[in-house]
Amino acid sequence: MSSTATAQQTKWWNGGRSPFNLEYGKLMMWYFLMSDAFTFGAFLISYGTIRFSQNFWPDPNVVFNAFPGTGHTNLPLAFVSLMTFILIASSVTMVLAVHEGHRSNRAGVMKWMLWTILGGIAFLSCQAWEWHHLITGEHGVFVDGKIELASQTMGGNPWGRHVDPAVVQQALTVSSHETLVHLAHEYPKEGTTVALDALEKMPNDQLTGIINLEHAHIREKGPIAFGGYFFGITGFHGFHVFSGVIINIIMLTMTAKGVFDRRGHYLMIEKAGLYWHFVDLVWVFVFLCFYLV
């Protein structure tokens, strides 16, 4: 068709038409996403600034090494890979929905929108599990000469510097009974699986003998800002995914009601699509900054 010829000859900036050959709604969506990119950019750059101002930063391979249903098996980055693929896949289904929209194929749009929504919900579920795992998973932390239990929260970080095994051995002798029970229960030496109530009745020195220090990875407290940024930024991203799912559900309902067929175009699907892809795009950088480097 003659599009390319038109593109070259048109005086785009002379008024009476869009210089971008776009209707205003899509243009505003693009500019909104640009400003949102600066919101996320500011978050991630702040994270980078704090990280650059620290001598020590936790290794993501150590922090994110769990997978649902596998206990303490060391699977670095496996779960977040799954999350990433879910999001990429949902981006593909979204772009297919937009494609069907171009062809005004209502059934096609609905099918792919449904898959996109499911992908979004799956991603959010994964994120919920990961947050839950980090917040509730208690680790032994070396504080003031003894071992305490701590999890990854907004105000604390158990992924600090390694502690010398000899120091850990010494610290265990002065640590509380509850801490030792927890460690012995979670990280028993091979062949010494003991029931929890039995552990609770054991004396401290016997508990110490059961704990597998290789697995327990006793560390110092790490940089506090790690948790704040992790929950803050993935939370803000998750909020975007959530609102994207809501928008997609609204779009699906409108499609089902035939609103776009009556309007003669599926422009709203395109705009929702832009938003959804942006969420995927942000994840590329969240994934990069928190999990990979």
């Binding site: 750059i45 620290q54 001598n55 510097r161 990069l288």
Partner: protein, 139 residues
């Protein structure tokens, strides 16, 4: 297909032929997946390098740099193919890409000052340095 005007300000509509478009989308999907897998592989490499107590910081930095470049490639494909920016006219591409250049100085200055803050504290607060620097042979 019949031209349906979306809005009066739009001069022409471009349509990528159906099957070709789908093929392109699927191709991009595989591309993104492969890049992600390569990135993960590099992430694991860092993990194993870290296991060695005297690992080369330069090597780790190099791998991290490569991961950043790969991520930018992913971003390019998402914006260009999935968000169809590559199909828009040049004016549109420029109006999106040019403002993003601001990120260069944004990132450089912030990280530079973050690093400088660390050096200041290490110089003037030896307690901070001693408390937070990884001891030799830590891993």
């Amino acid at each position: 297909m019949e031209h349906q005007a979306i809005a009066s300000e739009v001069t022409f509509h471009h349509h990528v032929p159906g099957s070709e478009n789908v093929r392109r989308i699927i191709k991009t999907f595989w591309l993104l997946s492969i890049i992600t897998i390569i990135e993960l592989g590099m992430g694991f490499t860092i993990y194993f390098i870290h296991k060695n107590p005297d690992f080369s910081h330069g090597l780790v930095l190099g791998i991290k740099g490569a991961i950043v470049i790969l991520s930018l490639a992913k971003a390019f494909y998402i914006v260009s193919i999935f968000m169809h920016l590559g199909d828009e006219i040049r004016n549109m591409i420029m109006t999106i890409v040019v403002p993003l250049m601001l990120f260069i100085w944004f990132i450089a200055a912030f990280l530079w000052d973050g690093n400088s803050y660390k050096n200041l504290r290490n110089n003037y607060d030896k307690h901070f340095q001693e408390r937070t620097t990884e001891k030799k042979g830590g891993h």
